[in-house]
Subunit: 426 residues, 2 copies
Amino acid sequence: MTLTPHFDYAQTLGRKARTASAQMAKAQAAGRNVTLRKLAALLRSSAQALQIDNARDLERARQAGLAAPMLDRLKLTPQAIETCAQGCEQLAAMPDVIGEIIGLRQQPSGIRVGQMRVPIGVFGMIFESRPNVTIEAASLSIKSGNACILRGGSEAIESNKALALLVQQALTESGLPTDAVQLVQVTDRELVGQLITMPDYVDLIIPRGGKSLIERISREATVPVIKHLDGNCHVYVDDPCDIEMAIRVADNAKTQKYSPCNAAESLLVARSVAPAFLPLIGRVYADKGVQMRCDPQALDLLSQLSDGCCQLATEQDWYEEYLAPIISIKLVDDVGQAIDHINRCSSHHTDVIITRDHMHAQVFLREVDSASVMVNASTRFADGFEYGLGAEIGISTDKFHARGPVGIEGLTSLKYVVLGNGEVKS
Amino acid sequence: MTLTPHFDYAQTLGRKARTASAQMAKAQAAGRNVTLRKLAALLRSSAQALQIDNARDLERARQAGLAAPMLDRLKLTPQAIETCAQGCEQLAAMPDVIGEIIGLRQQPSGIRVGQMRVPIGVFGMIFESRPNVTIEAASLSIKSGNACILRGGSEAIESNKALALLVQQALTESGLPTDAVQLVQVTDRELVGQLITMPDYVDLIIPRGGKSLIERISREATVPVIKHLDGNCHVYVDDPCDIEMAIRVADNAKTQKYSPCNAAESLLVARSVAPAFLPLIGRVYADKGVQMRCDPQALDLLSQLSDGCCQLATEQDWYEEYLAPIISIKLVDDVGQAIDHINRCSSHHTDVIITRDHMHAQVFLREVDSASVMVNASTRFADGFEYGLGAEIGISTDKFHARGPVGIEGLTSLKYVVLGNGEVKS
């Protein structure tokens, strides 16, 4: 390992986190829940002070010429602080999963074998701009009995420092180790390089941010990474289907919000249902200013729409995550062709079939190789809150360990426990 | 990626495996079980022919001067072939886990959310000498609906080729894709380098073999690795305990077989129970020729034993995986000190407490950070068969994805399934 200016600092963070993680793993659920409720109270009582710190970040960002959407993400409104506080309380109210034993069964030898859920140890989180992620990550870490090292973006450093102090205060006041949540105090890239290559101290890295950040971290990390690259989500409108439902879902999946990763980017339509469905959804999209990039047959069916809202799709369009008022549209012969197209072009995030056919629903659920596969629901439901996980530390588009929205269980591991009466192997 | 002589070959293997994996994921459980039973029948009817191929490997190995234990591992006895056939039949008889849906629950929005178990896709297995691993890996791959690429050691190439042909015959005759199990036909190291860096085609690498092989693969792989390095397993004899049971388990854990990774390498004894226990187990070990490497206090208590069977341990002894008739012995104050020592020195494989104290058992189970943690049972039980997994593709000492013995479930992933009635996000 190269010795860089921050080598010692990163090692110290790691060593402290490892020590704290052993104490967190021993801590009772009740104690961890006390910390979460204390943190909620501190967030509320410090709301004004937090906004003053946040204003310093905002001012600096404005001077640096940050774009309006970035400024929005950076802003800690009273509402955002209250949401954070409520999130902590919700987590505190959730059942504890640490220590639960699953599937304890007697084996022929006489031993009983099961699996106990335990914290994964130490995770590192690397994220950009949004300071509320500090509270989300810290609270999930506390609930799951882990220690974490948080490295936020430089734009939000003042807000993050203020929030991290509150977390550490809540930890200390409730008798848990202060180092269970550490915020990295420097924000250069080099320290990230250290954090992701300390397998002795960090068990898992979770990057949240742009694609280039995540690609760089995946490439360079020597510990496991829970990564989420694109969200190229599909809505497939099957034959037979409830046309009204298809319009409602295809509209919501695309237009309810354009920027989230679980927004739809591509619409597939069964050829036989397209004449009845496409002109109607086309009108909805056109009215909302959504540009449609179509295959020739779809373009034909949309020819009644005004000029400019439709154009011919290129091959690249089938792979694109627009995060914008644009959608690609393609006709397919049947559910089989839809599945083939999705498995080839989707980013394995979230894909939906709208259908009335039970067999089609079953085959779609089984064969679409994505983290979330849905029947008759909007792609926009793909997140930890809607799935009942209580909170979400990220969405994994990998298949290993955690897939889809990652909540508390994704931050745990199952170890085998064996209960015997002196059995020996013969 | 560097273009090496085997680049095209590796890519072809990968492409074929990826195609086969999609077909395997669609295949019904009944069909996969037919394949496994057919394979069992083929193994039995080809037993003589297999031994002729195996004899060629053995002859070559003898000429190359391979050590006797290596030759033993290489040998396909009629008994070994029958065990492989029985293993296939046992897997066929096990319930199918592919497609099962776990925890389907209604959420406040109206959608129902659960998780479906699906094959992980394609795994690569890199292993040494023992040809029966070919059948173990192939049968687990078929049962779990995956495709696999198997790369065995050069010593066993003739045996592996013959076994792989039987597997492919069983696949073809039961209508599954022949390429669902592919044996790499060249055995140089360079091809391994290709296999472990094809994330588009290979989802997971499982190395089985010496520590240097596994370290190299972990370092160089760009896909997840299920790895198993050392098995430095501990037996901790607590106070109070059943001394007779403690002797039986400590004896079995160390001496039932010296070479497996789940054999005990270190004995910890509560100081207060040591005078009653240590001389007795010392006599057992001495009679079996087990060398004891002791801390000064333990050495003192064993002074009655004949010269040469005990010596002072060095610091390095606490970390050693001997795989030989040697054991390290240390006295500790209590269960807390035992846990601290284990978490510092163990390889996180398998550790055991012998106790009558319920509280001590609970704290040991909870706090020892190992893949398998046992109360009153021999470390030697730590394997997939004894745990009821039906078979085992390896033992993971990592915490991520699969921990401990890895059976069918370790080769699967859980994707979210969402069942709606046209719900949209508001």
